[in-house]
Every structure is written in structure tokens, then in C-alpha cells.
């Protein structure tokens, strides 16, 4: 059955069939029995990019444009390693990066992580930082 963002929320209770961990474990199999049997891994207990995109659709259907954009960026970042995310966060802080450095981040997001929305977001920041002298000296 196709996903309907206007009526399939909450996914966990209305569409558990669509929800799995990144490794493909269905929601219904995230149980104490599975934990005891060693079938669960902490790194795997999180949302997939697909789930985050569906949440973005739910937000958009409720009229929450910006929340939807945020969740679409989140979907792109779901597969990016935490260390990389923390480095990029630091790079976006004021006076940390030159325009070129931010452009390299954007290119990397597009090339390595299939994250065009986040890449555009970083480029947009670079432009605004340039206008406000917030780039690295």
C-alpha cells in the first residue's frame, strides 16, 4: 500500500510495515527477545533516510514547509558518519572556513554523500558569510 502522508502518521503505529532499521530489521522485531538473542545492534537503532523522508512528507502535508526541509536535510545526513557531521558543524561556525573550504564541503556532500540539499545549504551560508564578513580571515 502506498504511503499517504496525510493519514499514515504516526508511522510507528499506522504503517509499521514501512519502518525498518538501516540494516532492514522491521520495527516489530526490535524486541527484548531479539536483544537477548544478540540480534540487535545499537548503531542500527535509528531512522533510515526513507523514514526521515516520509516524516518530511508528513510535515509538508501538514503545511510545515521548513520543518519538511529540515527533515529532508536530515535524511541526507542519516548516512554521514557522526565525526564528519561534527566537523561540518564546526566548519559552519563563524570565522572558521574560507569560501573555498565551504565550497569543498558542498562538493563533498554532493559527491560522497548524495546530499544536494545540504550542499546547497552550505553554499548559501558561504554567500551570506561573505556578505557579513563571517568567513575565516
Amino acid at each position: 500500500m502506498a504511503f499517504d502522508p496525510a493519514s499514515d502518521y504516526p508511522l510507528g503505529t499506522r504503517r509499521p510495515d514501512l519502518v525498518t532499521t538501516p540494516a532492514g530489521t522491521p520495527l516489530s522485531e526490535v524486541t527484548l527477545e531479539a536483544l537477548r538473542a544478540g540480534r540487535l545492534s545499537a548503531d542500527d537503532l535509528r531512522a533510515t533516510p526513507e523514514t526521515l523522508r516520509r516524516q518530511a512528507e508528513v510535515a509538508a502535508a501538514a503545511g510545515r514547509t521548513q520543518l519538511a526541509e529540515n527533515l529532508r536535510r536530515a535524511a541526507e545526513l542519516a548516512g554521514v558518519p557522526a565525526e564528519t557531521i561534527l566537523e561540518l558543524y564546526t566548519a559552519l561556525r563563524p570565522h572558521r572556513s574560507s569560501e573555498n573550504e565551504l565550497e569543498r564541503w558542498a562538493a563533498r556532500l554532493e559527491g560522497e554523500h548524495a546530499a544536494p540539499l545540504t550542499a546547497a545549504f552550505v553554499r548559501e551560508a558561504a554567500t551570506a558569510y561573505g556578505a557579513r564578513l563571517l568567513l575565516a580571515p
Partner: protein, 746 residues
């Protein structure tokens, strides 16, 4: 020039309130609540489908906030529609019960910060409250708890978290004194909260990197430390930009972690860069950035700067206006009331009502469930010792402000179990053991002073291991399960499961004990006037109104009179007396029979003995009579006086109220009235008897000295009512008085 100081002015100067400074507005320093003279003229210029000026500023002069808002924060189609509306027309719609929230939220998408602040500035306090009630995102209000302690004692953290969860808090936040403790505090909060009630969301307020790391390990579920400021210099001093903060928000969401931002009026003035603008206008800029960043919500309403805002005229109103703005922008609102707003309890409560009565998504962004001394957030506006006050206010107003009553027995039970659960987890990971004495102390503690000191170096080492070994929420669940805490393990695992479906990333989400998510999507606030929206009624009202110390009304007037032999014997109908020195002691219908003691606890037998003794000591001849036709003390006394040979009588109600009456006076007049029954002692009744005899014998009589306790009414009015109801119940209409003798039948 007046001479000397007024003692009344001096007394007022000594009050707690006067420890706070009040200042006149100083707009240049940003010390103006709202509608500041330096606020820009609102406006939006769009050319060729592109924003070229916001609130009077052309693009070339935009700061980083303007750039961000122009890029992400405004819907141009709505902007054109909004441009055609007067400010006052929009303000009226905010309080028009027939204009649904949805339309107002849509309209907000076309308004600049200047316009938003201007429109909300047109509302008076009651209008603001009404707008807030209408605009709240989620149907049902909730509350957030703060859980910390000075010793960072894990068993006490777990116990406090469990009790808070059992009291219905939907979220709870901890922080640290020493930042290396964070992983342990987060773990104690996770275990404690899930012991108290499955589904409670938790966070640990620390530096962003560390905070994200704890969340990734599944030890916390949400974050609200993403601060935003209304001017560029303060934003940059905070080492962030709108882009870096928005990116961080996406990063949290990418790990399935709920995020809300933080902002609040006055922070820019405090940090010296308000740029001559009012607090409300700068907060409108913050909120515009926050929505543009795609945050689902915000904690705002001045937060930790509240006392500065309250130093200004209109400060309380400004803070409420901030919350209204946030709700109008469709953000989940955790509405402050966490930091200490004032020394004055009156002022604190008055400020609170702005959010308490309309209800917000989280009425406080941290109710301190511990005593103030253990609050590591800088002291709570409301603390553990104030819980009964909060619960009573909910009961008074029939308002749900998110905290449930809990019996002492249940509180201690859940606290002990949580302390045992964290004890088991510590044992499982080989952390420094938590002794049984510590568990027991945590179960019963008032604060951390009741807990033994721990080896802090060893605990901090354990905390480092949590990060180094990547000990996760899943590991915590496993240890709980292995050590017999299966239900808590299931709840901790349930929280991890939420991260997979990520339903709580939607606006205003809270998790129910059964794991279902309620948010503005699944449970929106559709208030459109009386009979709609969230109303505290039914089972929930039954739960919130039934405080553990509430009494059964009837039991208050139960003095065992029905099962004991009366202390007086009825001798038959009372006739008029003839002796000139006779003083009638007229008692009420239930005296010495259905009721047995006065409201002051003096046994009726003792009252009669004292009166008899007093009358006799002055040469009077007492006769006891029961008036049955009325319960009012004036008529009891007057009926007695008409039977009395001297024309003088003492009238006494069962609750102890007494007077001295004379037959020739109007019934509602009297010689002396003793209305303060709670203060009447055996000596008082003896003196009343003496005076009555004095009047009977025509002597000069000085009134019996009486005392005054102006709180007696507040303290005893319930008991008075119930005792009087019992007296009234024994009235027999038209019944003749009967003569009594003291003493029970053989």
C-alpha cells in the same frame, strides 16, 4: 520635604520583593519590553518574486539573520495577502474564536519580524492568553521537569526522575556541575524516567558535541540547547550562525533525535548588543530564524533572563507575548517558568498564570522536582517543595498544567525501584557500586544532603568509560533485563525503538506510556470556543483534583457522638425560671450529643463545667437548657435569656461559638459575642460564665478579653461549615427547649 521615615514604608521596603530593582525603560540599551522607539517600521518589499527589503532594511544592509529569514522564513504569496491587512485586523483575528488556528498560522508565514511584534503588541494580557490558548500546537498541554542534584548522585537522579515520570512529566532535562559526569547523569535519567513511566523523553544539557554524542548512543532522546539570538553580534559571540544552528538541528534529526531551539527576550540587552531594539522585536527575529531553520519548536519566554525583563514596565506581558508569537509561528512552545523570576511568590505566581491558564505544550521548560539547593540550573522558579502549591492551583482553576498528584507510598515505591534499577545497571557495567544504603536514602531523601558522598573520581572514570566504550541505551536495556528489571528494560528499549520510526520529530510530540506518539499532527489543537479543544474533565479531572491530602467532608464532623452515650441528660421540657440570680446556659441542638467537642477541641463536658463554675463563682445560679428549634448562636442565646429568671443567658453552639444575651435585647443584638471559637479555651468559658452572672446580678462588668487570629477563618472555615451543618441537621422545627443536666445516664 517630609520629616522622618514612615514605618509602613520601611516595612514594605523590608519585603522580599524589594530586593529586586525596577528600572525605567532605556531603549538605547535594549531595556524596553515591547513597542520600542528604535524598533523598525515593519515592511516587506518584493521585486520580481524576490525579497529586497525587510522591515525597512535593503538587502545590502541585511545581517546574517535577515539573509536567513529572507531565504527560508517567508512565504511570498502569503506576504502579498498579508500586506493588504491592517495590523489591528490581524490582531483581532488572533482573538477571534471563529478564525481557526490553521488560517492564522498560514498568515504568519507572510509576516516579517517587525510586523509580528507590532501585531502581538496590540493585544492586552487577557487577549494574549486567549490567543495562546487558541494557537497552541498540540491539543493537550504538558510539562517538563528538571532533575539534578549537587552531588550528581546517580541513585538520587534516578529516583527523582522516576517520581517526576510517575507525576506525569512528559520530558525531563538534567545537566551537570562537572561536565565529565554527563554520560552517567544521562544514564541515570534514562533508567529513572523509564522506571517511573515508559515513554518519557530525556535530555542532558551540555556542550553541543557532547550532547549529540550522548544522543547518538541512545542515552538521551531530545535536545533543546540550540540557542538563537536576535542580533548578529550576539549570535556570533555565541559562536554560531543561523546556518550552523540549522545544520545542527538537521544533524540531530538525522539520528532520530527531537530538537527544540532556545531563545528569549532580554538576552541581547544582557550581552550588550540589543542595537536599540525592544525585547519583543528581537525575539520575533529569533523566532523567525527558528521557524526558517525548520525547528519543530522552541523554549522561549525570556528563560534565564526573566528577572531582567521583569525589571521593566510591561515585562510580564512581554514574556507572554513571546510565547504567543512562537505558537503563532506554529512552533511547539516550552514556555519558560523555569528560572527564578522573582523573590516574591505573588509576582512569580502572577507571571506563571499567563502560561498556566491558557496551557502551552510544556507549561514550564523545567519544573525543578528537587528542592532548590539541588537545582544545578541556577534554582527553579518552582521546586519540589512547591509541588502541592502547583497541584492546588490546577485544582483551583480546573486547569491541566501537566503535573499529577502522587501518594507518598507510591512515590517512595517508584523511587526505590528506580534507585535499584540504576544500582543494577552500575553493577552490570562494573561501575563503582551503589550500596543498598544509598538506594534506601535516595528513596526517602529530601535532597542530596540525605545521600552519602561517593567517590567522585571513580564515578567520573566510569562516565569516561561510557563514551570510550560507546555504552548505549541498548546496553542499558540488556543489563536491566539480565538483572530482573524486565519492564524497565522493555521501556528503555521502547525509547530506542522510537528513534527508528522517528514520529516524535513532528511538531510538539510527546510519547504516551503505550509507545504511541501524540503530536500536533496526530492530536492538533482545534480550539474554536467553548465546548471545543482540550478541556480538563472526566477521568483526567478526577485524577488531578484528587490530592492525596484531600479529606472526606463528613469525616471532619465525625466526633464519635453517634456511638457514645451523651454527656448530658435530657430532663424534659424547659419552662421559664424565676430566681433573680438565674443564668441559663443555652446550648445548641447537637451539643454534648451528636457533637462532642468545640472546634478548638475543648470537650463539651469541660465547656459546661467551666461555664457552671464561672456562673457560680460570681453568685449566679446556672441552669442548662438545650435549644432545639434553631442552630444560630444569637437565637440559642436569646431563647435561653427568655427562659432565664434574670433575663441573662449564655448561648453556646456545639462548635464553641458563644455569647451573653439578655431577654430585652433584639435577638441579633447581644451583651458580648465570642465569635472566635477556635481561640476559646476553658478559661474563656469560665470568664464568660462569670460575666454572665455579673450581668444577671446588675454588676459593672468589664468585657472578657478576646484575641484575634485573622487566619483562623482560612484555616478552619471548612471545619466550621461541617460542624455547623451537623448542628443544623439536628434542628427540630418548632420544638420546645429541654432542660439538661451534666452527666450521662447510669
Amino acid at each position: 520635604m517630609t520629616e522622618g521615615r514612615s514605618k509602613r514604608f520601611l516595612a514594605r521596603e523590608g519585603r522580599e520583593l524589594r530586593k529586586e530593582l525596577l528600572i525605567a525603560a532605556d531603549p538605547e540599551l535594549g531595556l524596553v519590553a515591547m513597542n520600542g522607539p528604535g524598533d523598525p517600521q515593519p515592511g516587506l518589499v518584493i521585486e520580481d518574486g524576490r525579497i529586497v527589503a525587510i522591515d525597512g532594511l535593503p538587502e545590502a544592509e541585511w545581517d546574517v539573520l535577515d539573509h536567513f529569514i529572507a531565504r527560508h522564513g517567508l512565504d511570498l504569496e502569503v506576504a502579498e495577502e498579508a500586506a493588504g491587512l491592517e495590523d489591528v485586523e490581524i490582531a483581532r483575528r488572533l482573538v477571534d474564536v471563529d478564525v481557526p488556528r490553521e488560517q492564522l498560522v498560514r498568515l504568519s508565514r507572510g509576516l516579517t519580524p517587525g510586523r509580528l511584534a507590532r501585531v502581538v503588541g496590540l493585544l492586552d494580557p487577557v487577549e494574549l492568553m486567549f490567543a495562546l490558548k487558541k494557537l497552541r500546537a498540540r491539543r493537550r498541554p504538558a510539562n517538563q521537569a528538571h532533575v539534578t542534584n549537587l552531588k550528581e548522585h546517580p541513585a538520587l537522579l534516578a529516583a527523582d526522575a522516576a517520581e517526576a515520570a510517575a507525576r506525569g512529566f512528559a520530558e525531563m532535562e538534567t545537566t551537570v556541575g562537572v561536565s565529565r559526569y554527563a554520560p552517567l547523569n544521562a544514564m541515570a535519567l534514562l533508567v529513572g524516567s523509564q522506571t517511573g513511566r515508559p515513554g518519557v523523553m530525556t535530555q542532558c544539557a551540555i556542550e553541543e558535541r557532547r550532547s549529540l554524542q550522548l544522543a547518538i548512543q541512545g542515552l538521551t532522546t531530545y535536545a533543546e540547547t540550540l540557542s538563537v539570538y536576535g542580533t548578529e553580534p550576539v549570535f556570533v559571540d555565541g559562536d554560531d550562525t543561523p546556518w550552523s544552528k540549522a545544520f545542527l538541528a538537521s544533524a540531530y534529526a538525522s539520528r532520530g533525535i527531537k530538537v527544540r531551539f532556545t531563545s528569549g527576550g532580554g538576552s541581547e540587552a544582557l550581552m550588550g548588543h540589543a542595537q536599540g531594539c525592544s525585547m519583543l522585536y528581537l525575539e520575533a527575529r529569533c523566532l523567525a530564524v527558528i521557524r526558517a531553520a525548520g525547528s519543530q519548536g522552541v523554549q522561549n519566554g525570556s528563560i534565564s533572563v526573566v528577572a531582567l525583563v521583569l525589571s521593566l514596565p510591561g515585562g510580564t506581558r512581554e514574556i507572554l507575548a513571546e510565547n504567543v508569537l512562537a505558537a503563532w509561528l506554529d512552533l511547539e512552545v516550552a514556555s519558560g517558568n523555569d528560572a527564578i523570576a522573582s523573590h516574591s511568590p505573588t509576582r512569580r505566581a502572577a507571571k506563571l498564570m499567563g502560561q498556566f491558564l491558557p496551557g502551552t505544550d510544556f507549561v514550564t521548560s523545567g519544573y525543578s522536582v528537587m528542592p532548590r539547593a539541588d537545582n544545578m540550573f541556577g534554582g527553579g522558579n518552582y521546586d519540589g517543595d512547591d509541588l502541592d502549591e502547583w497541584l492546588t492551583l490546577q485544582r483551583d482553576w480546573q486547569v491541566d498544567a501537566g503535573i499529577e498528584p502522587l501518594s507518598e507510598e507510591e512515590a517512595v515505591r517508584v523511587r526505590r525501584r528506580a534507585a535499584q534499577a540504576i544500582q543494577a545497571v552500575f553493577a552490570g557495567f562494573g561501575f563503582p557500586p551503589i550500596a543498598d544504603e544509598e538506594v534506601e536514602a535516595a528513596a526517602l531523601a529530601h535532597g542530596s544532603e540525605d545521600l552519602p558522598d561517593r567517590d567522585r573520581a571513580a564515578d567520573v572514570h566510569a562516565a569516561d568509560r561510557v563514551l570510550a566504550e560507546r555504552i548505549s541505551g541498548l546496553d542499558v536495556a540488556r543489563e536491566l533485563d539480565l538483572r530482573g528489571f524486565t519492564d524497565v528494560a522493555e521501556a528503555v528499549l521502547g525509547i530506542q525503538r522510537q528513534r527508528i520510526s522517528a514520529d516524535y520529530l513532528q511538531t510538539s510530540a510527546v510519547i504516551e506510556p503505550d509507545g504511541s506518539v501524540e503530536s500536533a499532527v496526530s492530536d492538533p489543537n482545534l480550539y474554536t470556543g467553548p465546548g471545543t479543544g482540550y478541556r480538563l474533565e472526566g477521568e483526567r479531572w478526577e485524577l488531578l483534583r484528587s490530592l492525596p491530602h484531600e479529606l472526606d467532608a463528613r469525616s471532619l464532623a465525625e466526633q464519635g457522638g453517634d456511638s457514645l452515650a451523651p454527656v448530658v441528660v435530657e430532663l424534659g421540657e424547659a419552662g421559664p425560671g424565676t430566681a433573680a440570680n438565674e443564668v441559663v446556659i443555652a446550648v445548641g441542638p447537637a451539643f454534648g450529643d451528636g457533637l462532642r467537642e468545640t472546634i478548638a477541641g475543648v470537650p463539651h463536658e469541660t465547656v459546661l463545667e467551666a461555664l457552671l463554675e464561672g456562673v457560680r463563682s460570681e453568685g449566679g445560679e446556672p441552669r442548662i437548657v438545650r435549644v432545639r428549634r434553631v442552630a444560630d448562636v444569637a437565637f440559642i442565646g436569646h431563647d435561653g435569656a427568655r427562659l432565664s429568671g434574670s433575663g441573662v443567658a449564655v448561648g453556646v453552639q456545639s462548635k464553641g461559638t458563644a455569647l451573653i444575651h439578655r431577654a430585652d435585647l433584639e435577638p441579633l443584638d447581644n451583651l458580648e459575642l465570642f465569635g472566635m471559637a477556635p481561640l476559646l479555651t476553658v478559661d474563656s468559658y469560665r470568664a464568660i460564665g462569670r460575666n454572665a452572672a455579673g450581668y444577671a446580678l446588675g454588676q459593672r462588668v468589664g468585657p472578657v478579653p478576646t484575641r484575634l487570629d485573622n487566619f483562623a477563618r482560612a484555616k478552619l472555615i471548612v471545619r466550621t461549615t461541617l460542624l455547623h451543618a451537623r448542628e443544623t441537621a439536628e434542628v427540630v422545627r418548632g420544638a420546645a427547649p429541654v432542660e439538661l443536666s451534666l452527666g450521662s445516664k447510669p
